[in-house]
Amino acid sequence: MSNVLINKVVKSYGRLEVVHGIDLDIAPQEFVVLVGPSGCGKSTTLRMIAGLEEITDGTISIDDRVVNRVAPKDRDVAMVFQNYALYPHLNVADNIAFGLRIRKESKEHIAESVKEVGEILGLTPYLDRRPANLSGGQRQRVAMGRAIVRRPKVFLFDEPLSNLDAKLRTQMRAEIKRLHKRLGATSVYVTHDQVEAMTLADRIVVMNGGIIEQIGTPMELFMNPANTFVAGFIGSPPMNQLRGNVHKTADGTKVKVHDVLFDLPGSLAVEEGQEVVVGVRPEHMALTASADSFEIPISLDLVEPLGSEALLHASIGEEPIIIKAETHGDIAHLSGVSKVYAPASLVKVFDAKTGLAINEQASS
């Protein structure tokens, strides 16, 4: 197994720089998801690992070998393309065997490998069909089969599920995760869908505008976003971000949003009157008070039932806020909500100018 080391990698097209010197260390067998909005440089980064794009500056190493000048075929990586890129003139078995044939593997080895991959991916009944006669999910599986048959060091996935309908996507997502558990190969997966990122990743790399905003486990990103961008990208719906000012009171440091005072966790390096953004996740607010929670009066606009939960669209003054509340099978009791409670320990504070998280100071 291998690790992928991305060191100060820059990608420019002519004068336009699209990736601005990123660093990323991917451990053996790790499943890393690059996520971000379109144009953030995630696919370009993946294609640089694959060898389909030249690296303008910096280095990429696979297994401690710098591969900047190594052809894709000699990098021992395999890629699953967004549009599958199955060869339409070949049947499923030949599509899977294509790479092995090019590498002049023995006939017996090819037959055996194709059979095995067919079984792993449940493609055995379709081996002699052409791609045109397969469903979307089956084509996706063939594309994965073509990648896994070579047992490469690194798997690259370029938005592989974005062409599938929602139900199939959920199903294939689980299959990819199962496959990764079974094969244990280092995987780099690109998506713009944060749900895919959260469910699949060992670690998520959030990219934006050609830089890395944050690297962390799904729960780290969820609980401790490094900045307002990550806070607004991860989570569905994302973290509420409310502008306010720091207010030091006898009762401790608080943030005043409109006329509501937000309690803060621990001691933060903030100054009186400083402009900040407070972040509260919709699912961290509750309709009933608990030990360390404080009250937030809201004016409710709209209730969106999702089944077991409902989204309350509300506002504090001009600032919109979304609260996720349990329905317990009925939403009637939600229409009269005028205040919610949030635990101070789960409130995040970001600098309003830089967008960076202001973390708790080490307790002295």
Binding site: A50, M79, Y87, P88, F98, R130, A132, R139
Partner: protein, 294 residues
């Protein structure tokens, strides 16, 4: 008509009728000369020469065919046409396919320049005499090779195939590259199989233009044993009536210059008619269906 015309407006109906009439006229205009020539070739020499044949043979006879098929020069030119057609088509494909692929690749250095270079020849060329002098100076006059390679590259076919290659998703190339294929393998194992319809089209264009190639063969070839069928046909039309050996037989044989000409034309059309259905099956669309999802 099978469709329910009530669903169509007056304008649609008039349009459909006008289109049908135009197609009908075009069909007649294309088909009639062929029927006429075939009818003449099977007609008696007197009727053919007198212009009495309109649609069907008069005084039906195979005499013209017997005469044509007994001429060694006919068979010689027929063989030559096969040599020029097969050799020329293969040479053309060998040059055009890799050329079109190279021109279609974004990574080709100076791609715009090379494409312009090729397209330029669509609109401008040196003209007849410089080309002739060029062929003369290259010692390619009166030679098989001259005809075969002198007309091997056709810019139109090159651009046609280049456009087709360009229309194939780039990800096929990338997938093959990831699978370990080099440029030749990508072309040979992926792009050529995917381009069968386009390659069939340019193959047919090459075959037909070679088969019917007349003007340059007439200009460049002097030896009678090297001329293709079309030039032989021209010789027949121009000189047969002055051929005393031939005119001497006219009183005893039921053929004429006209029916012999017709027979040569019919014989020259047959191979193209035979080849066409084999190539036509590749014209079917949809071979790309399902390979990628856009």
């Amino acid at each position: 008509m099978a469709m329910n015309m009530n669903l169509y407006s007056r304008g649609d109906k008039i349009f459909a009728i006008a289109v049908s009439i135009l197609i009908g006229l075009f069909t007649v205009a294309t088909l009639y000369p062929f029927i006429y020539i075939a009818a003449v070739s099977f007609s008696g020499g007197f009727a053919a020469a007198a212009g009495k044949v309109v649609l069907t043979p008069i005084d039906t006879t195979l005499a013209a065919y017997k005469y044509v098929l007994s001429q060694p020069k006919f068979w010689m030119s027929y063989l030559n046409t096969f040599i020029y057609t097969i050799g020329g088509t293969i040479t053309s494909l060998l040059i055009i396919i890799p050329g079109a692929y190279a021109l279609s690749r974004p990574q080709l250095i100076g791609r715009r320049f090379w494409n312009l270079f090729v397209a330029f020849t669509l609109w401008f060329n040196a003209g007849l005499i410089p080309f002739f002098l060029n062929m003369r100076d290259l010692n390619l006059l009166d030679s098989y090779i001259g005809i075969i390679i002198g007309f091997a590259v056709n810019a139109f076919n090159l651009i046609l195939l280049r456009n087709f290659f360009e229309s194939l998703p780039q990800s096929f190339e990338e997938a093959a590259r990831m699978d370990g294929a080099n440029d030749f393998q990508i072309l040979w194992k992926v792009y050529i199989p995917l381009s069968k319809p386009a390659i069939a089209t340019i193959t047919l264009f090459c075959i037909v233009s070679r088969w019917n190639g007349f003007f340059w063969a007439m200009v460049l070839l002097q030896s009678e044993e090297k001329i293709p069928l079309q030039v032989f046909l021209r010789h027949t039309i121009a000189f047969l009536s002055d051929d005393q050996e031939f005119t001497a037989t006219l009183s005893t044989q039921p053929y004429s210059v006209e029916s012999v000409t017709g027979a040569i034309i019919v014989c020259s059309i047959i191979p193209v008619l035979i080849v066409y259905p084999f190539i036509q099956k590749y014209f079917e669309k949809g071979i790309l269906l399902g390979g990628v999802k856009e």
